[in-house]
Symmetry: C2
Subunit: 630 residues, 2 copies
Amino acid sequence: MKMKSFSKMATAFLKKTVAQRVPILQWGRSYDSRKLVCDTIAGITVGLTVMPQALAYATLAGLEPQYGLYSAFVGCFVYVIFGTCKDITIGPTALMSLMTYQQVMGRNTDYAILLCFLSGVVQILMAILHLGVLIDFISIPVTVGFTSATSVIIAASQLKSLLGLQISSSGFLDTIQKVVQNINKTRYTDCMLGILCILVLMMLRKLKNVKLNAKDEKPTARQKHWNTIFWLIGTSRNALVVMICSAMVYFYEASGLTSPFLLTGTVRPGLPSFQLPPFHTVLNNQTVPFTEMVSELGTSVILVPVIAVLGNVAIAKAFASGAIIDASQELFTLSMCNVIGSFFSSMPITGSFSRSAVNHASGVQTPAGGIFTSILVLLALGFLTPCFAYIPKASLGAVIISAVIFMIEYEVVKPMWRSSKKDLVSTFATFFFCLLIGVEYGILVGVAINIVFLLYPSVRPTVFVETATTSSGLEYLMITPGNSLYFPAVDFIKTSVGKAGVSSNHLPVVIDCRFILGADFTAAKGISALIDEFSIRKQPLYFFNTREDVVSVFQGVLDEDFKYFKTIEQLEIALKDNEFDDSNNETGKLLYDSEAEYCTNMWRKSSAELREICNGEGNNLNHRLNTQQR
Amino acid sequence: MKMKSFSKMATAFLKKTVAQRVPILQWGRSYDSRKLVCDTIAGITVGLTVMPQALAYATLAGLEPQYGLYSAFVGCFVYVIFGTCKDITIGPTALMSLMTYQQVMGRNTDYAILLCFLSGVVQILMAILHLGVLIDFISIPVTVGFTSATSVIIAASQLKSLLGLQISSSGFLDTIQKVVQNINKTRYTDCMLGILCILVLMMLRKLKNVKLNAKDEKPTARQKHWNTIFWLIGTSRNALVVMICSAMVYFYEASGLTSPFLLTGTVRPGLPSFQLPPFHTVLNNQTVPFTEMVSELGTSVILVPVIAVLGNVAIAKAFASGAIIDASQELFTLSMCNVIGSFFSSMPITGSFSRSAVNHASGVQTPAGGIFTSILVLLALGFLTPCFAYIPKASLGAVIISAVIFMIEYEVVKPMWRSSKKDLVSTFATFFFCLLIGVEYGILVGVAINIVFLLYPSVRPTVFVETATTSSGLEYLMITPGNSLYFPAVDFIKTSVGKAGVSSNHLPVVIDCRFILGADFTAAKGISALIDEFSIRKQPLYFFNTREDVVSVFQGVLDEDFKYFKTIEQLEIALKDNEFDDSNNETGKLLYDSEAEYCTNMWRKSSAELREICNGEGNNLNHRLNTQQR
């Protein structure tokens, strides 16, 4: 009986977890033909986009072209099953390629594949340790800066194919420089085709939103029909343009002439073999064991996966736009993509911004689009390579450019300026650092700046000081720290309160703790130091509105009770019978001054000895102080 | 006339700055013979301590012994002029030596000296950029862990000389291991001497606080006299013990026998030459230019100075105990020590914990103690080397051990447990990481943990949800976020409020913003998303107690006015005439649902297109929503 209920619970829990970890089980239910059409179109378009990118990025990573395609199909396929964001397509990216290149350089492909495997493992660990919280540290300003910069970089990288320049470059500045240097080598045929494609794509893009009926009136059947057709054409514009261009080239060459455009060229056919990632390799006729390989990969074993996650997360946020992302699920998915990918000799992969943009712009409805991308890539590897040989590079450049230029979010600057100007700092810092020192460091710089802004209030909180008067006409100083009291602020608060207390020529001081929502040991020590300082100065110090949990923190380090007041009435009563009023007789003063001197001397001693003395004469001193006050 | 007043201001300002930057001008005024005595004793004691340490640390750093002494005298001297904390003595430390060794290894001395110079430069930059705020990030828990760990490490490092073992080791674990391995090689003469010294030092230490008169009665002239003598002996105990031991050895050897103890041995005489730090060097008959040297030093150019500052700051905090330290002044001083030091072929230097402890325990009164230390070191380099040759290593080990063991702050654990338990985590983490992976990383780990704790409330703030009732008996949901609203918390708050709103089956929701002291662009976006979400759900959402500055941040991204209530009365009125009450007719509902569907679809689109639509049908939609509500 109990057993049964337990098993029931277990199954329920299992179901829940599976449903959460395998989103396809949810969106799969409501899958219909309409979505299928959209996904197919999008999937194929992305497939057409990923092909030359994969080849290019593989070369960029210092690997043979086909490794790009190997990396391209696994990610998409895995993401279909585990992915949560319909737009994201996982695969080789310029960023990952660049970071892989650093590791492969002078070594062999095995390092790239092992790096892919290890990235996946590290990401799984991140998922297990719930480091998905990282996602929360990428603010919108940083996302905006990152996405805009990435768009600019990608657009720039496509300038080459648009101008028909045959140059290899890495990074934004390098590309720009090389393009400018070789501008005279521009192939006008490619350039014209590219620009033409862009114009056509722009027009088709507008066509997507064209409606024959006026806004407020219902469309007739005929209008509806045309609206749909327009939408279809507009959405599949990328695929259309690419196909038309290739067809043109095909017939052109069929008629015996050589293509006036640079073409993608043939892809070496054949599927990758399914095998364990290389845990040892042979370099210059010497066997390199696993440990050595890992140590050679060094920090990139951590940096690559983290950057992959950061990038992926930023993209997810950009497309989810307001909707909340299941960070740990995205993390888990990405790790799966890399681990499984490494069994198909993939290099490290993550969400591709440009392809996700294409995927989104092609009107993808569910992650299922990835299936068609993968299939297309596999077919390409198997049979289709001859066909894709005819794709002009310029037209693909056009597709990518006209996809990403809309991701440069210049419009966000104005509301940001109105809302919170300091966020502009992180945006522009992220943007420019992405362009200048690379996307991975750019985003880190942005996050770092954000965290500094985040920490600032806890380091230098506002301390509001005002002179108040009780109903019975007693003047006192009301000091309100504008933040919780943690270690970085303690010295600052202590000094501020101390100074305010002194400069008020010994008015009673009331610290309003309404905004002190938390405190730590350092704070408690600071407060007890403050209490001593005031009692030595014979200046009354009261605490007001202190939260219970904060009180318990303070109490922990104090010898006598921490006195505070909850209501203004209690406070006013306390202010009326000022504890120090009766200690103005000479002897008292004298005694005090000597004590004060004694205390301050003590105070200067090292904490260890100070404790000694406090336990010795210290308590005795407190005792005398107390009796004195009664 | 104006000119005059200006020049007056200028001079006044100059005076102020100088007085602040050159503390000796302040404490120098009140300098008297009593202080002189104390400082002389302390300075000489420290001088006697630093000598063998310097030699040991130089060897540890892979340099010739005398470089340790070169590094020892400049720091003390400079600190006298610019230093703020009487106890700190700047010079070679085990930590700096270890870090220098990494850079010198396989190269030459020039790298150590250049590193010293560059550390100074980086520290000056830190001072200029006001990075002295770093000091605030070392909490008491971390300081406690750091100081305790350092004490343990130093004590352990002295075990060797105490047992008369002739082994070289680096780091805590290595030392312990080596000592255990060689325990059978213990020289009992040294061991006995060492233990004897420790016992004597302990007794003399107690003697310092012995008073012949009872606590409450005034001492007679004779008692006073003896009290002073006791205090003097107690304070100069280190010097005494060391001198007596050396004298013993001297006479022993004078009578023709060889010392039964290991001795410090002779120091190579001669002062360092004053010259520019090496901006290029010759390595394997090849000239290495400055740039290449720097690139070879790599990250340590940043790490070494920062760690030096962190260490120095931690020590300063430990000794200032409660008093506030002028961080930027300490930073400036340290940089001066390193820059000037590099002109005397010094290796990177910072505050030495063990020597500062000795200095403090020897009852130093002002930084002037440093003068005597430097002079002693210089004399040692010049003439005194023969005398110091007789110091038994064991007695110096005893001095250091009996100085540092009182710095292991086990007593602080109890109040910390009472006050704030999570602080114990940072303390113990710091302590153990300092022991296991080295002091520099240990302290960084501690600070990192502290910062994580510090960030937590801004990432996962408390969200207090309660069902309240207005005076007119209307039920509503009162949600109070327990922290300011910055980017890491936005998604979390949004989800929490959303869920609470839904699960309350459509009660009106009031967000009490009393604790939202600040917000950023991401927060504003989140709030506007929340407002849309609720308006789509037709669930009223009100804001209460919002601060003006926060309102302006929110307003920045909103199309219509951000509505909020300052008093509970206003709120109750708003709750009474619920804006959505009149929209319960079917058509309205239908219209709404379609709208809702439409909105959520929109919501899923990429931010770029979302903006497009918002400017197009979006506004129109808002318009319709508003008309609907009227």
